[in-house]
């Protein structure tokens, strides 16, 4: 790597080390001040990324409309809605996020649609469980069996059965908790390793 190419790596490493030091040695005026500045700058740059996101959305959907690809009317609806929300949101004296039109679209269009899509989860869980039964591996049988026991252990009728509520709770408290903690520990270790590789300059995602 040329000397000029090492500058971004040095800057990234220095920035990361300062923020990390602030976490471990917090209290230093200089380190905290620098760290807070970096975090504020990152937030500002992330906000600018929103402009890039809007440009990407417009470009993708405009192309679909011009080429009358499958679903192009929905792209028209998306662009019109986006333009409406943006325009009414930035109107001087319009109230910004509390603008009447923006509020209406959010409360009576976005929220109901979001709830509708999310409500599909209930049916998708059922079809996914049925698909897991068809896989017929030991893992899928174990998953369905434990899921059934835990589900049945939640219903009021289970209180009349001698073993089910206790078994259900034991499954949640012991093997399930052990599995979750094991996965989280592994993820934590992977996160630390990846973070160190970025800090040490071995991984340079900002240059690729």
């Amino acid at each position: 790597m040329s000397h000029l190419g090492k500058v971004p790596v040095a800057l990234a490493t220095a920035g990361g080390v300062i923020v990390l030091l602030d976490y471990f040695v917090g209290g230093s005026y200089v380190i905290s001040g620098l760290s807070n500045s970096f975090l504020v700058w990152a937030a500002i740059i992330a906000a600018f990324a929103m402009i890039l996101g809007i440009a990407n959305v417009v470009a993708v959907h405009y192309q679909r409309i011009v080429k009358t690809e499958n679903g192009w009317p929905y792209s028209v609806a998306l662009l019109v809605t986006m333009a409406t929300v943006v325009l009414f949101g930035i109107l001087p004296g319009g109230g910004g996020l509390n603008n009447v039109v923006v509020d209406w679209i959010f409360d009576y269009v976005y929220l109901p649609l979001s709830a509708t899509i999310f409500s599909l989860l209930a049916f998708f869980v059922a079809t996914a469980a049925f698909r897991a039964l068809r896989i017929r591996t030991p893992g899928s049988w174990a998953m369905i069996a434990t899921g059934a026991i835990v589900l049945l252990g939640q219903i009021p009728l289970a209180l009349t059965l001698p073993v089910l509520p206790d078994l259900s709770q034991w499954i949640l408290d012991v093997p399930a908790m052990a599995g979750v903690r094991g996965i989280l520990i592994g993820v934590g270790l992977g996160t630390i390793t990846m973070g160190l590789r970025v800090l040490l300059g071995y991984e340079r995602p900002y240059l690729e």
């Binding site: 040695v25 996914a128 270790l189 071995y202």
Partner: protein
Amino acid sequence: MDAISGFFLDVLYYSYIKPHAAQRLGLALLLVLAVLLIYLTRRTARGSQPKLRELSAVVGLEASLGEGAPVGAKLHLGTGRAGLADSHAVETLVGIQAFGHLIKQAAAVGVPVIATAGDITTLPALENTALSGFEDTGNAALLRVDTTRFVAQDPVAYAAGVMRILNSEEVTTNVMLGSFGDEYLLMGETAAQRGIDQVVGSANPFVLPFAYATSKALLIGEEMFALAAYLQRRPTQLAGVVAQDWLRLIAVVATVLLALAASLGFVIT
């Protein structure tokens, strides 16, 4: 000059005198890990390649995207709901890293790619990765305006957008690597119902059962962090996998010893 000397004095004072024991221990452990990683990277670069166990996800991906990729294949890559400026940034980063290799493979055999981002901070990194992948294979002409797409900042809206892509854009392989929540099942089940080959990697233990039921191959937790090493085989990545193995071994031994100590009545504070 005063600011520079003040900075170093601050580091010396606050790193040794001010923090309490847990912070000192954490910092010391991190320094030890850094030294370990440097040593393992140099050892791997000198030719000491670790033996990696087979990952079914890697086998599945190579079959879908290699020279034997079916005619009319199309690849969707999803990075999930997190960005590069939040607590799940590392999961998104490892996903983008793996996607770089997959995009190059797809571009080399002429397989169209759709890469979707569920966070605005992910989009620039994804666009850069796609551009590099297509340029490196000399197929920059295959890069389209809609190859990388910012779908939505909201997780449910992101899932709805990806569902539309899976339903109507003839995707044959779906790879989801990143941070997902409950909304994963909306996308995963859609792909499963359409018979799309799926490879999913998630560090969220509550998503894994859904991913197991709907995907052809699953990367559980830290396997996601190791995927790039399997695909690209760079010394730094292989060293990272070995370092994770060592750390895991230390964590297991420490957990067992501490559990034994607690069971025998020793109080550890």
